[in-house]
Symmetry: D2
Subunit: 301 residues, 4 copies
């Protein structure tokens, strides 16, 4: 993650001068502010700003005049209750602003989460940097043979080498051509908004992304999930580590009820109750399709 010395100096400058505030503060998040947590080969996640902390969730839920109770126990119980019963509005009272550097094909998945604010680096206005995501060998996976949108075994030997060679050389060549088309040296130079169309989806872009905690939890549940594509999952995991330091109680409830939780259908509940009563249930008399049954038994045996 090659931040330039100038960029590192700007970050250091921002971290050098604490200022007094009367707002709610999260010590855990202050420690992260502005620093770039590296992700993939050239990407990062940086916390630019945050609003609120665990106490702010409680304060909003109670529409209170002060800062909430002093008893941490009560706050924790309330936060877990709110999470368990799908209350969303108190969690929306916390907000996070990130600066993210990420490949375009990851950005295209990410942007599907619409309830967030985004300010992206403009390739109409500016020139893109020569930085491309090239997977590490252990992440160069074959198409899954059982799941149309999944990965199978890691590629090996000559095939892996061929793929890496293609990715690297196409990135280099398309970027050379991008520069060549833009060049105003002895020619007019193609408009930036047109030249960018030659760049592949593994080039890095950047954006500021701002989201409330409720919608962030939704993002993390979907994107830190094992079914998410590896290249977005590592971003979600990096963010999750920051959130754990920011709002530890809310994050604990999220881990228990959402990340570690599961949703059972009415049919699945019925099967489990029969099993608890000692009955042996087969797919045929479960009422579930084969696909549902397979997913069910992966969890419950």
């Amino acid at each position: 993650m090659p931040l330039t010395p100038e960029q590192l100096a700007e970050i250091d400058a921002l971290r050098a001068t604490p200022r007094p505030t009367l707002r709610a503060v999260s010590e855990g998040m202050e420690a992260h502010l502005y620093k770039a947590a590296p992700v993939l080969d050239h990407g990062f996640v940086r916390v630019i700003d945050y609003m609120g902390n665990d106490a702010a969730i409680v304060q909003a839920a109670r529409v209170s005049y002060g800062a909430g109770t002093k008893k941490v126990n009560d706050d924790s119980g309330l936060i877990r209750y709110l999470m368990r019963h799908w209350h969303s509005t108190p969690f929306e009272m916390c907000e996070l602003k990130l600066h993210v550097k990420l490949p375009i094909f990851v950005a295209r998945q990410w942007i599907r989460h619409r309830t967030a604010n985004v300010n992206e680096y403009s390739a109409r206005y500016s020139i893109m940097d020569r930085e491309f995501y090239i997977p590490e060998p252990q992440h160069l996976a074959a198409q899954s043979t059982v799941n149309n949108q999944g990965r199978g075994a890691v590629l090996e030997g000559a095939e892996a080498a061929r793929v890496l060679e293609i990715l690297k050389s196409d990135a280099a060549r398309t970027y050379d051509h991008y520069e060549e088309m833009l060049s105003q040296d002895g020619q007019q130079g193609l408009a930036r908004e047109l030249a960018r169309m030659n760049l592949p989806a593994n080039i890095y872009t950047q954006w500021y992304w701002k989201v409330d905690l409720h919608n962030l939890f939704h993002f993390l549940r979907l994107r830190a999930d094992p079914h998410a594509q590896y290249e977005i999952r590592v971003y979600a995991e990096a963010i999750a580590r920051m959130v754990a330091d920011w709002v530890p109680v809310a994050f604990g409830a999220f881990e228990d009820y959402r990340m570690g939780g599961i949703t059972l259908s009415g049919k699945a509940i019925a099967v489990l109750k029969r099993r608890l009563a000692g009955e042996t249930v087969t797919q045929e008399d479960s009422g579930m399709s084969k696909g549902e049954w397979r997913e069910f038994t992966e969890v419950w045996g």
Copy 2:
């Protein structure tokens, strides 16, 4: 605005202990934090938290690594450019959290602004306070005779007295009955979620309301407007005064381009150009309807 001594003490406690932060700070907004700005007879607006300042708008617009330029001039020019050209995303990078106490009929207008987060005091769960909005005499206006949704002259004499008497006595009686129905003294006591239905729309409720600056400007443009109902306008004006201290440059641009600005239709542009060329234009040859023409001449003579 009768805050209890306990509530005032809680607010004082929150303002007594500044803590260090590395985040962007707005000195102007720190001065407002937690204090209750009174609105109407029992209402208020309090800033609970904020994210960002003028520099944060610039920083997001530039997707920058540091805190933006040092030259205030450049920042101001960019912010005005962004406002003039309807850029919304950089303004979305600032966020405000308010605690508001307001009559229910005002809350029902307010909630129509959907792009915001709300946590309202629950009358299913808790008992409402005995506080009702009773207009001051100078705001007791007659129905407009020209505008179906506007006000005319102020009521006078016996009629004004009758109206005030009705509002006060109905408020008192319905609240007495509310308490009587809830009472568990010698009876079961009606469920809170049912008893509340007897309370009129001028009773006060409270909520936490969180919104980004772009959507807040939209709210202010519609609700601080002379066409807005007086009782919501005073809330918008109280908020506007806080925003002016929070992000003075952005607020200045907002005042010039939105609050002080106007939108001309294609027809209105054509009429103005003919006038500038010395022509006298009448409604008949303006292409405008009578209503449009009246609104046009109110501004341009």
Copy 3:
């Protein structure tokens, strides 16, 4: 539900003249169009328009050129898969527009669902009708003694009579006063936007409400739930019956996975697995709080 003869005639007129369309049609929903399904004492739900059907969900999920497969089996399997795995966008491709008449205290809960379009009857512009929700005796419930936001036993005898008398007489008196303040007979007449503040929360309002199927399912899951207040639940149930006729396959999946389903926390999964293995687990060694354990055993014994 007193629709006037004029209103009924307008509805009959709308139902009298089918017109040809090339759009996707749902026979089940055509049967509901425009008719008012009565809810509570004066309320109703009417379908004004709809977009899409079960096949449209499949068509969007496949980004297809035609109308989807001919095999209903495949479509059903895909819709159930999408529901099971929390895919939201294909369900967003169906849209419903309703005309609803409902008490204001119900409207205030309803509007909290922000991802919808609303056009409400304006009490600034128009005069409200003299129609109030008065609960039927069997819905006049006492405050729950175990749940702060729930209902207990039905009120009986003299207490029930007193409550009904209060609700009726306060509704009548406040409405009389509303009319008296508005009257321009021998006086100026108070502005409508002010007079409305005297009306209690059980007066009926009306709105057009438009929502996509994904967000409608979310609304139904929360509002057709036994924990929802009875007075909004009956609206949700009336809508659910229409949705069942509109998109029967999607509604079936929704019933199985959402309405009939349940979410287990990581701790709850662990307890169930221990039980399935024959172990007896107590609250103390479950890792759950008392509240969680009580909710858990209500389902699993």
Copy 4:
């Protein structure tokens, strides 16, 4: 726009069988349904479904029981009034669903409009087609020398030829490599979700996009504007032609007040008033910056 014979047959089949409906119908839009309006070299816009028409806007604004007035004049006046005064909710009561085929760099701009529903063809799940946007010679523009995000003169001669050659050969080569990496002929075959990263931003994707009329007008105002990039503007213009046939009255108001309209700042109003009074105003005493003055005089001379 190479639709396959199978796709054209599917579209013909959908258009061949009108069915009766009781819903509001727009004859103008029925004529467009399912047909692919070609855009750029391989793209298109197809209307898949719509909800509402001009009368539905009026009906919602009046929260009416029937279909609105019979007098077209009244409806038109109301729609123009609603547009002039920035009422948004009645326009939200109409909805449009499109199937769009578009280059990825256009899709990335388009998706920034968040208040819409999207279902995109998945390159994790499926294999992309070999179709790339290659600009026509007259759209191969140089970088603007005055506007960082604009186009200047058209490229000519050898430079234009070089650019076209680059775009074509890089598209062909990266797609060849895409297929080569995916191939399972004698090798495992790279996962689709990884192989796609080699494809440039001018490859075509497809999506279903559904939006309400208010947000669609906002999209059209920004994207059918001369400042928008040509490659998205042609999509906006194709959609605008369909909307003009769908809701001709609302579209007429939109053209007059939005597309043909302009927003004046407070400073600009003051200058125009001075000019109307016969005064000559210069930039120096206008209170405007040079940039604002230049934009002002471009309109007003």
